[in-house]
């Protein structure tokens, strides 16, 4: 079974803090993705990575950065957290026509 794990299920941070969300996959997938999920908006792509140290911006990259130093690990970084970044963050890995999702991290920024 493919497994995608995320470091935290729930996280509470203060405005201005630097926040790291970690994602690890065990299927040797080239591609990894970070989405945020908000009610009524579905999932929106923040960043994705197609290889170690390679990344591309998604549809809403502002305020975020990513790091992929190893194939199995993809990190999302909020450089200076703001209240409008309160959301559910979902990581996925996969190949063509297949994506596997982690359980999500619910981030609250106060």
């Amino acid at each position: 079974d493919v497994k995608v794990t995320q470091s935290s299920r729930y996280l509470v941070k203060r405005t201005g803090e630097k926040v790291f969300l970690e994602c690890v996959q065990d299927m040797d997938h080239e591609n990894m993705f970070w989405y945020r999920q908000d009610p009524g908006l579905g999932l929106r792509l923040i960043y994705f990575s197609y290889d170690v140290k390679m990344k591309e911006k998604g549809d809403i990259p502002e305020g975020y950065s990513v790091s992929r130093e190893k194939k199995e690990r993809f990190s999302l970084i909020l450089e200076s957290a703001s209240t409008n970044q309160t959301s559910m963050y979902l990581c996925a890995s996969g190949s063509l026509n297949e994506q596997y999702f982690g359980p999500g991290t619910r981030l609250t920024v106060t």
């Binding site: 009524g40 579905g42 994705f48 390679m54 996925a92 026509n97 297949e98 596997y100 359980p103």
Partner: protein
């Protein structure tokens, strides 16, 4: 550009009755389409996918979807709803290749299915 529209944000059905969740897509070429399900406090799980083979696609848990090019639709159906089907469902279209040759996936806004006892 690729996009999907889920026509209903909420659907309620009685247990044992048919389920229909509607999705229309827009694509400048032959699309790859998916349905995902998200149960409360869980990650998304792939239900089924269409990738230009048979137009009627069968998925897990008795769900199926029919690709209709003339109607640009990919509606999800199930003959008889079960209480465990209560969840949020997302219709997804695969986008064009990016500069790196990777594909992005464009999600609909979701349909929340409620199953009444």
């Amino acid at each position: 550009a690729q996009s999907v529209t889920q026509l209903d944000s909420h659907v309620s059905v009685s247990e044992g009755t048919p389920v229909l969740l509607r999705c229309n897509y827009s694509s400048s070429y032959s699309p790859s389409l998916f349905w995902y399900v998200q149960h409360p406090n869980k990650g998304l799980q792939l239900l089924l996918k269409y990738t230009s083979a048979a137009t009627l696609v069968k998925g897990i848990n008795g769900f199926e979807a029919e690709f209709k090019k003339s109607e640009t639709s990919f509606h999800l159906t199930k003959p008889s709803a079960h209480m465990s089907d209560a969840a949020e469902y997302f219709c997804v279209v695969r986008g064009p290749p990016t500069t790196s040759g990777t594909y992005k996936y464009i999600f609909g806004t979701g349909t929340r299915l409620k199953v009444l006892a």
